[in-house]
Amino acid sequence: MCLAIPAKVLEIDYPFATVSLGGAKRKVRVDLLEDVKPGDYVLVHVGLAIQKVSEEEVREIERLWEELLRE
């Protein structure tokens, strides 16, 4: 029950948003996040977007991996 799945925001209709969840369109609540925009990635858990997933930080982790592996 408690998976949170990354989804892409397609359209905002506050407090809801239509997101693309593994290819399927779904309506989720986004009112617990600050300024969500279409194009953002969010983690969806039981119908609620609980956090934004940042692309910058996805790159950051790759850098972290590289660093740890080089040491």
Partner: protein, 353 residues
């Protein structure tokens, strides 16, 4: 990404050489799923033991909460809504699905908002059997704020951080993999108070690379005695967590002492509806119904090792009932029911040690 996995595994091998044995506990059912699915236990050296802690909110719900919900269903004509996993947990061989087959109105929902919709379109009282840690609580809190008169919440929610507070002192664990999604809400900050136990913790994502990297980070930290708190899941976990979510959660819920399967009573771990939201608290509204409620013991569960498994003191294969009397089709303990339960996952992927 195959190359990354191999390189991390190689590093783990190097780092673990000097240890006789290292015990790492993860605290999230979804991590157990990644570990079993990708056979991570067989990738890493034998002296690095990966144990599964009380990370699944279905597994840790004590029988008493379940019995109370059954009691309510037997006495009152309500629509009971909950998540699918919870509906499969048996008590004395009966589950919520069993009640549904007997004609009770039990409905499986994907989210609390579906339950809210059911209430808005019905004259009957709708009860949402709410389970989950800090990950799930904000959605219930949002629903409580919008509850119509016929919508009630039976809260079996538990705060996870107090459970860590209960687990960490005097534990034999050398390092912890903290739950990723709980952390998206509570943030890195929530674990700062736990660094006093001097056992390194890492917040980890859910890809196999994340878990392996977290193990590597832990091994280094265990060796050096620091850092005690690390965040590998930076793409979703911020220092302060989700502030808005924490606010509504704190507004709607109060922390009370609560019981956990296998762990007993943990101070401040149960999320009960606060007085302001009393009007949608099922336990208050149906008070009279619960007056004659007495919890019982399920004899079938006497030999079930779920409690020990949740503490990381046993593996499913240590249980005499595993894959004999207790199978995913006919589960005895909740660790076999929930898709995030260690016994269920081991049954699905085979013995993964």
């Amino acid at each position: 990404m195959g190359g990354v996995v191999e390189r991390i595994v190689e590093k783990i091998r190097e780092e673990s050489k000097e240890f006789e044995e290292v015990k790492i506990m993860h605290l999230c059912g979804t991590h157990e799923d990644t570990i079993s699915k990708y056979n991570i236990r067989s990738l890493i050296p034998e002296n690095v033991k990966l144990l599964a802690g009380p990370g699944c909110p279905v597994c840790i719900i004590p029988d008493e909460d379940l019995q109370k919900v059954f009691h309510l269903l037997e006495k009152e004509d309500v629509i009971l809504t909950t998540f699918g996993d919870m509906a499969r947990v048996p008590f004395e061989g009966k589950s919520l699905f069993h009640y549904r087959a007997k004609g009770k109105d039990v409905r499986i929902v994907y989210s609390v908002f579906d339950a809210l919709e059911i209430a808005k379109n019905s004259d009957k009282n709708v009860v949402f059997f709410a389970i989950g840690f800090e990950t799930t609580m904000p959605s219930t809190a949002v629903a409580a704020k919008e509850a119509p008169e016929n919508f009630f919440i039976f809260s079996a929610h538990r705060f996870f951080i107090p459970a860590m507070e209960a687990l960490m002192p005097n534990s034999e664990i050398d390092g912890y993999i903290n739950p990723g999604h709980v952390s998206t809400i509570v943030g890195v900050v929530a674990y700062e108070g736990l660094t006093k136990y001097k056992t390194p913790m890492v917040i980890s994502g859910f890809e196999p690379e994340d878990v392996l990297l977290s193990i590597l980070m832990l091994l280094k930290a265990i060796k050096n005695g620091s850092p005690l708190l690390m965040n590998e899941y930076v793409r979703a976990v911020r220092y302060e967590g989700n502030v808005k979510a924490k606010e509504v959660m704190n507004e709607v819920f109060d922390a009370e002492d609560g019981s956990w399967r296998g762990l007993g009573i943990i101070p401040n771990s149960k999320a009960s509806l606060s007085r302001v939201y009393e009007n949608c608290d099922a336990e208050k509204f149906f008070e009279d119904v619960f007056e004659d409620f007495v919890p019982k013991e399920d004899k079938r569960k006497r030999n079930c090792l779920c409690g020990e498994i949740l503490k990381g003191k046993a593996f499913p294969t240590d249980c005499k009932l595993f894959m004999k009397a207790c199978t995913p089709r006919d589960p005895i303990g909740s660790c076999m029911v929930s898709f995030e339960g260690t016994c269920n996952i081991w049954a699905k992927y085979g013995k993964s040690l």
